[in-house]
Symmetry: C2
Subunit: 674 residues, 2 copies
Amino acid sequence: MTTSPTLVDQIKNQGNIIRKLKESKSAKEEIESAVKELKALKLKFDETKPLSSVYKFEKEKVDYLLKQRFFMDQSFSIYGGVSGFIDFGPMGCAVKNNIINLWRNFFINSANSVYEIDCPVITYDKVFEASGHVAKFIDYKVKDVKTGDCFRLDHLISANLKMILKKKHSDVENEKINKILAQIDGYDVNQMQQLINEYKIKSPVTGNDLSEPTKFNLMFSTKIGAAGHLQGYLRPETAQGMFLNFANLLKFNDNKLPFAAAQIGKAYRNEISPRSGLIRCREFLLAEIEYFYDSSDGGKHSEFTDSIQKTIITLYSSDKQLENSPAFKISIGEALDQKIIQKENVAYYIAKIFHFLKKIGINTELIRFRQHLPNEMAHYACDCWDAEILMSSGWVECVGCSDRSCYDLDQHSKHSGISLIANKVLEKPLEKMQEIVKISKRNISRKYTSQTSNIVSKINAMSFDDKKQMCNEIEKIKFFNLKINKDVYQINSDMVSIKTEKFTIHIEDIHPHVIEPSFGIGRIMQALFEHSIRTRKDDENRTFLSLPVISAPYKCSVIPLSKHDDLIPVANLISTNLRKIHIAHRIETSSSSIGKMYARTDQLGIPYAVTIDFDSVRVSPSTVTIRERDSMEQIRIPVTDVCYTLNLIIDQPDSGWNTTREKYGLFKNQINKI
Amino acid sequence: MTTSPTLVDQIKNQGNIIRKLKESKSAKEEIESAVKELKALKLKFDETKPLSSVYKFEKEKVDYLLKQRFFMDQSFSIYGGVSGFIDFGPMGCAVKNNIINLWRNFFINSANSVYEIDCPVITYDKVFEASGHVAKFIDYKVKDVKTGDCFRLDHLISANLKMILKKKHSDVENEKINKILAQIDGYDVNQMQQLINEYKIKSPVTGNDLSEPTKFNLMFSTKIGAAGHLQGYLRPETAQGMFLNFANLLKFNDNKLPFAAAQIGKAYRNEISPRSGLIRCREFLLAEIEYFYDSSDGGKHSEFTDSIQKTIITLYSSDKQLENSPAFKISIGEALDQKIIQKENVAYYIAKIFHFLKKIGINTELIRFRQHLPNEMAHYACDCWDAEILMSSGWVECVGCSDRSCYDLDQHSKHSGISLIANKVLEKPLEKMQEIVKISKRNISRKYTSQTSNIVSKINAMSFDDKKQMCNEIEKIKFFNLKINKDVYQINSDMVSIKTEKFTIHIEDIHPHVIEPSFGIGRIMQALFEHSIRTRKDDENRTFLSLPVISAPYKCSVIPLSKHDDLIPVANLISTNLRKIHIAHRIETSSSSIGKMYARTDQLGIPYAVTIDFDSVRVSPSTVTIRERDSMEQIRIPVTDVCYTLNLIIDQPDSGWNTTREKYGLFKNQINKI
């Protein structure tokens, strides 16, 4: 990121000018004018900075709006609530459904061989024993030694260090803490214990001492069956269901690689310290893909198009993090060429994730892809890039893109005894030299007649390595003493020998590798709401949600100006016609003023409002107004054009409104001011 | 249900004729001809019976197809599987998504004021304590006294009685057992224990004795939080989340009744004896509506249209069940008039449920609405009609339609202390006479000067009933001895008196009542598959799924006749264009014969197939064939017409194919025979 040095010079220079003006006790007006110029320069300088360093979040306004308009609420709130659980109201639910529908279109319907499946949440414990989750899906907790309150170790340390930073310290000390904060995701438990000791961290609630860190498995557990013999866990990711069905899916795809499984469903993590809102819930919605491929092709992807390649993204590689250097912008193609991203299929998914987030309405300047630090990776991953989105609480992981290699399929093959592999018919049969041990029954029988079959069985039962060792010994000392029960048989090179032979291989076993893009839908929604809130220029308190049409809970409001008997039938007719063409809408039935009704439809993020006023029924032909949420511009069109027009502007979110406004002209009257 | 008596007479008569022909040793041809006639008469008679009494299910073929084509599979099967859990493969998942989308359109988008919300599965125990599920959501289980195997009491008895029926018994005994079977859903635990004793029922696995029945709560439980202090249950229905959000939803609907909440999500019941397939799963998908209304309007529904009223359905009222009489056909309007269904809103939902099931492809002759028996109702319901669908395993409850009255909201008001009620502004204010207790401070102070405020406080703190009793005593014996600590004060009618006064009431409290249609999506899917399977006339083993377009997992297949390089680009181009107009489709990439590819697309239930053959690339203009699954008819159309044509026939499932066939004419060539 480069900033204009001349601008910095200008600011310094202007500062000097002001200082001199003050020293020389110049006229007040002169000083004020110079200060004004300095401010303008500083503003210009701010604009050269990345948006992520200057973006202002309005968390309180967002929270208030989301609760007020029932996008969401704390679950079980009439019973005091339980943290980590969120209810989606009608508006939150509609936004969620829109995001899911777009996800399906984007990642399943518009891609080759991606198959959605749906597996249970309650999962047999054998699955998570094999996957490693029973042993390794843990966080460390520390307890307040007096109250028993639990805290998540890494979060407690981060929070404490950030508090320390806020107080005045030496630059050296601050830099040290900043470095720890940048790398803490990679710390092990001992390093974290050292920090607890070094910074004398206590319980943040009581100030009491803390216990030693202990492991805490994040999976919710439950018993299955009336007898309670079977142990189940609520899945912490949807992935395992897709691995378990690998053989079914491979068959469905005509036994060919690559293909992908997709799953959209709830996942559960018994977080030690859940956050409020949608950032760290105990129950949350995931949309995951497992892309199975033959790693011998080097990770190519058949849909790696030119437009994918040219996608510009912000990357924050592990190198840069360890150097404490900033993230940087680069095209997907260059990132591959420079081997910052190793595989084309990972790069493909990173680009697709970026385009998806952009399409639903995330501010692309507030997205970066951060590579996991070597110690930070989940137990199943060998590389991972997180799509992080900047929100009021900082950079938050919203989509993970992990390279799980062949870890999971191999684990399940091992634990279940069922081989989860694919076959590849080789285009050219391979010729391969291979050592084999040859046993001559005839030569054995010449010496040990009746014992031949026993001896052959014994040798056959030996491992290849043991057989090879036997042959080596024969080569050295001309014989090998084979013991069967209490008898010893002398085996020589006529009986057993090792040879290298040529084999022709037509079919090869493949242990498929897996790339996993995993979307936390709730977190993406939280980002969307935080990026979409706006306030009207003339009224700080008048907020609205500038959601794109595709994410908006309803596409339009139908608003009768009053509850007058003449207006309602027109509203109902418009509603009936909109239903026919499947435009999600809402009739305003309150008896509020038109201003309040517009304020509400704006807060619900509804992009358009059709208003029926008295001109709609008293002037022929009947006309209504359509109002655009962000600009508050209005047009007046015949009632008969409503469906066609709305369909057009909804289908063409970039240009539709402008085209339509040009066609009908702006409409201005007293309503327009509201 | 009436059958033609003349037809029965004809059959008897024809039987007599044959008997006589045989007795008189008539010519073989003559006898055979008479037998043929008898068979024709019997077939004609069968056709007069309700379909439900003659329908033949092909469960094995369905099961084989569903597994073979990965509509679904037993979960965790590589680890031996756990009963009660099912994985949906790509085809099952697509059918499920189609059903859910249609459900949303049908019950949410096309209705007034229905709001979808989404609440967590893990639910705070206080919720289920209030709702009564902790105490009452139970089944009875019996244990094999030696092995500890558990069985669900009612199912064990039913299965045993059905076994007994299969053996020869007296008509009296059979009739008795049939009566028990018809009413067993209404039996209590003591009645069931008696049956165990009477029929000497043992463990079906080992023949061992069984334990006394014990209660078993069907909710899965889990602990919430790192300290494990909070008890949670996995919800056995989605309903409670909607009750908990009543106040939020009421506000969202401008504080007006009626409105409805809807929720689509997983629910969990730890079944004692889950069945295979989708009938009784431990984890299953529900789509539920809670329709909140003011019961003082008698249960009217504003969308009770003429077409709803005229819907003909099969009803099986509790009266008829107790009489052991059959179900009967009736229109929704008549069922209301005859008070078989009590409320218009219940009747409305019954009709909507019927139309929905019809639309997704359920055979309407195999649907009946069965009223619950008085003892059978869930603890929260005061009336309930189940939409039952006939399947291979008998009549299965697939949609419940319960009248939950104000049970749930009242329970939550009581347990949470937060009043979950609505207000109604009365059109005409009500004048109401009400008794009130009047306290005269002045008269008290005349006698007890300094103690006045203590006395007034004491009286105010009394309940209304206690105050009334005090006044009654004053009326009888002229005074009342009020004790405060050790002092006694004599209260007379000048100090405290009871009066009846007129009040004007403008706003009335309403305790909303609730109608709950609750859809078991898995069961509906099982019925759909069982009703849709067909076999080709010329080949018993060649099955296909005759799914309606709206439920079909893909709308068409794109099939290159061979893997020849010339054909693939045409297939890809068609696919790209179909994606643009959002027609879900699949390109066949296998190298099977065209016959096998058609067989597969038929088994996947895909209604249309576009086939690219060599004429598509060698003859100009380029043409392809479109084949209809059920009739196997084909047309040949220009490539450029494919999207338009498919869009038309998909949009008009009733007439589109016929119109298109008439336009282009039937195409016949060697492919047609396959």
